[in-house]
Symmetry: D3
């Protein structure tokens, strides 16, 4: 996986028709009292780098610099640096337009933040309707074939374990247990398949969806390896399914 930022424009042009352009997107938002603002960005970049290491050069990947800001309007109560939904949508479509103008025919967005999902999906759908490309989009945590529908939560056991594995010095210890109280409705809807969004829910819930105090570096290492494998396999699958989309 080469870094677009380090290539000359001719090298990008030459790579475009065959390679997959990969755009990581993250966020800067509250992650409770123990994780840093950039947790989502750091984790998606770590999983992507690890996945690329498993791929040994095929398919060819050109990695764009990560978008460090995401849609975190629901965390503005707590120091997020957030893009409005329509701004994120515009950034994604501008980047896609640029890549296609440069000759790319295949683009993969790898997401590190739940709040980005609607606009990410909307953007790849909209773009693939008007341009002759194959677009992929995924959230790094949702690709484990053994547990495809898992919802790992925010600033809880899952993300804290991963941060112990990836950036242990940035975890403020000891991690306090989550205060008692029901999980927020957006995380545990009252009926399967129902989306419920209620004003002020994030502030009521505190900054985390579940208890992070039992997170550990060992769990994090396992989670990281599994997520990287899942992403590597997803990239291979995307490559195989869209190999006739070469320029």
């Amino acid at each position: 996986m080469r870094q677009l930022t380090e290539l000359t424009w001719r090298e990008v042009r030459e790579a475009g028709s065959g390679a997959i352009a990969v755009l990581p997107i993250g966020s800067q938002e509250q992650h409770a009292a123990h994780l840093p603002m950039g947790t989502d960005t750091m984790l998606v970049e770590a999983v992507l780098d690890r996945a690329a290491g498993l791929l040994t050069g095929s398919p060819e990947l050109i990695r764009l610099p990560g978008l460090p800001f995401g849609h975190s309007q629901h965390h503005l109560f707590a120091a997020a640096v957030s893009l409005r939904p329509q701004t994120l949508h515009a950034v994604l479509l501008d980047v896609f337009d640029s890549l296609v103008t440069s000759g790319f025919r295949r683009v993969l967005v790898v997401n590190g933040h739940g709040g980005n999902e609607e606009m990410m999906r909307a953007a790849v759908k909209e773009f693939a309707l008007r341009t002759d490309v194959a677009m992929g989009a995924c959230s790094y945590w949702a690709l484990d074939p053994a547990d495809p529908g898992s919802s790992p939560g925010h600033a809880g056991w899952f993300e804290t374990s991963l941060m112990y594995a990836v950036h242990p010095k940035l975890v403020r210890v000891p991690v306090a247990p989550r205060p008692a109280g029901p999980e927020p409705l957006f995380h545990r809807p009252p009926h399967p398949g129902l989306v419920v969004e209620r004003y002020g829910e994030w502030a009521r819930a505190g900054g985390a969806t579940d208890d992070a105090s039992q997170a550990s570096a060992d769990s994090g290492a396992e989670l990281l390896a599994a997520r990287a494998r899942g992403l590597a396999e997803a990239i291979r699958s995307f490559d195989a399914a869209t190999s006739d989309s070469h320029g």
Copy 2:
């Protein structure tokens, strides 16, 4: 369930603080050679009416006229009447703004068309961040607790069976079997959790995701009853979870 369109404005005002406003949204788009353009709209309205019949008056529901057009840009190749994503988003937010100005504090969107999901979710999230409300959103087919993640397909066995049950005269018979060939990537992604959107995929796939020739009115009646039960339970759950959001 009372119809907003038949109420005077004072009746709407009086209902607002306690009732749930329900907005069905559908589409006008191709449904292969055997189903009509309005299939999604007809089905979501049929399931909602049946669900309301199961609720026996509690919670109080005020049903808005259905939005007959949805986001079907991917079906413009085949006679859809479609709203662009940003237009659908604007319609939803305008309707939500109006309802809150009228005194409603709880709104539920019931969706009949997969292409509406991103904008529906984005709209309820965005609205609940800026307004003191509880918003619900669901697609009618995704609420069966026994099979919450099912993806029932487009113009195939699922929708055709339901149309046999709801509007049998509108199904053109005999229904031809689906031509051989792989299912489209947007319906069967090459890896679980990965979204793949490829230019021209709907046209390549033909108008249906799966074979409708085995659909039947009996299956449709069972599907209808199950979906109505699922929706009724989802509405009860939404009511219970948000009853403290009364005005």
Copy 3:
């Protein structure tokens, strides 16, 4: 007149080049204490259905599902469900774009609500400048050749009589007389040809522009018949004037 919602996409395609696509647009807004929210939508649909019955199949009409929401920002003080002007404009242009993509070359918008007029006119003008089509637009009450400039008012004698004829059970009786006081400036401008819009005028005026207490079903039946004849003649005229716009 066939219903687009009941046709398959191939039937729509086949009709497109010769038929006229007809889009009714209405509103959900206050109509004083005695008429329901959907009055405008119900009346435009009733007049259109009656007109179609007078046309005996020529020209061929493909009727779209009515847009149940209109521009009623001036009625938000009283429970309207309203689209902002730019949203209504976007919906109309999206629908027009879709119809032309489906092969239609002639589109007629039939309006039931005064507040929609500016955006309806702006949309058909804008669309006909950029696309090779013939667009028609009218408000159902303004087509009587014997009285082309009549301004029938809101929730008064005219609409109440029509509702007695079309949906008598939805009229709450007895209908109270309109309180004394000047008619609002937007309805009776201080000089012919001058538009005057003043903040809060609708709330000051109460919900009706004129007295509805003398309305009757007989008057309504006559009004309905006359308006249907006017619309039928307008459609025939539109067909004759634009018959060379066939695809």
Copy 4:
């Protein structure tokens, strides 16, 4: 009538609460082979200046510099300098917002170009809904009480006569008669009350709606005097009807 452009800001502020701010809007667009591009702008300014002379200082008017560009997208085939509808709408709302911030409570738009009417009406409606003001809007030719509904046409007898009276040197003589052929559908609709817009109609119609070859300076002087009287009376009526809107 004082010119805003010549006043200091304190003088504007002092005038704001009692005076009526008057904004003339025109166009730059083709007016056949004999009239200049700025005809609409010149005529609306001439009628306004003449009307102000009839008012002898009451009500107090603060005249803004005229907007020289209007919505003339239908004349782009022939060298118009045109604003898109949404741009004109934005300019009007920005000007209104500014005036209210400066203390004005009454604003009158005086229009010289038919293509501006929808956006002018939409803008004053929209603004008066959100701001405590009284807004007036009119087209200078439509205020003659003896003939309120007259449609004087474009670059024909009416405008040419007026230009003979106002700027005779700018009329290229002799004025050629209009070529034979039907009047365009937008000017003579096939049914009263029906708006018909057809692609390419302006180019087919040539640049004028009716024959200008019989226009004369004498007719123009009469038309000018009548239109100025009509506008002066409309301004007096607007003042009387909204005098309680003073700041």
Copy 5:
């Protein structure tokens, strides 16, 4: 220099391919207690007319009517009539689009108001990227080759002297000296090259950036002559550098 507003559309068309279209843009905003609202508009038009007199017909210039409103949001505290940045941008792009549709290949914007600069530059850049044209843009005060980087200030010595020369009756005398106090940060940044914008700075600074009490008609005459020479030379240079952009 001919006035577009006085030409017929055929004359504009004929001029388009070789001439330079010139658009003056100004503002309506506070200019302290002694200068009128339209100062910027009057000055840019005066300098442009004088410059055109120096050019003796080559290159051919077609002058558009000036845009009397500019971006003055920072002066809304004091009676400005202002366009928001995006509105000014839209107006400029609409005018450019119109001119190119009319056959012009070269357009020059001459600006009279500092607050217009960002949008003027952004608009000419954006337009020249998508359309085969040569665009020029300048502020009339910044073209003196002897002092290209001068910042002449707002409502101070520079503009007051020019107004004494151009419209002496519009200067309210005697002109009061500027109150003591630091110059505002937007005019005298704390470090060269650094832009500093602080909330409320214009109101704190009073209406002028520097002392106008020493301004004189003689200085104004010299400034006017120098600015006109600078603009004339800039126009000649633009013509020479872009003469191969003829249509």
Copy 6:
């Protein structure tokens, strides 16, 4: 200078009222055959880090993650990844809104790419008009007090020297001399103070504005030190001038 991405949200909140939030913005665009796509981003970050080292902790700076994409529409012909102007503007305003919601009162944008300047300036102006903040904006190359107006060019001697100093391995050697031919009009305007933008100019000019073949690491080290000193002094000046803007 602390990194926002590494802080918890409470640490950000605590810093907000007194610290200056610093946002570096760059680009991904062609830099001739010898420099990488991310040159502007790398250089602005290098200068900022060096400047922060000179400040020894006062004022307190909270550095946001750099925006790696900028406005490079003029480089789309050569593999740029670019945001449209309105998208860059939206990103900046969203970030500013977020920072103010988090408690910051002072924000400084440090820019590495000439194409970002209009939107950067427009965004800080617009934001400071509507929010009680002090905003700073600068381009890192334009702050040397000894040479404040210098225009260092693109992919030429200046940037190549800096890259030799900062990321020598990313410079492809030997660097070819610039082909003969006039410098592009946007870099060397035909008259001082005149902006000229001509379609296709960047492609005609090749990728660089001046000759890079004489660039050297020694020159780069000197340039880097001077620019870092200039930025450090600009930050100190901004802090001093706006210290009363603390929350």
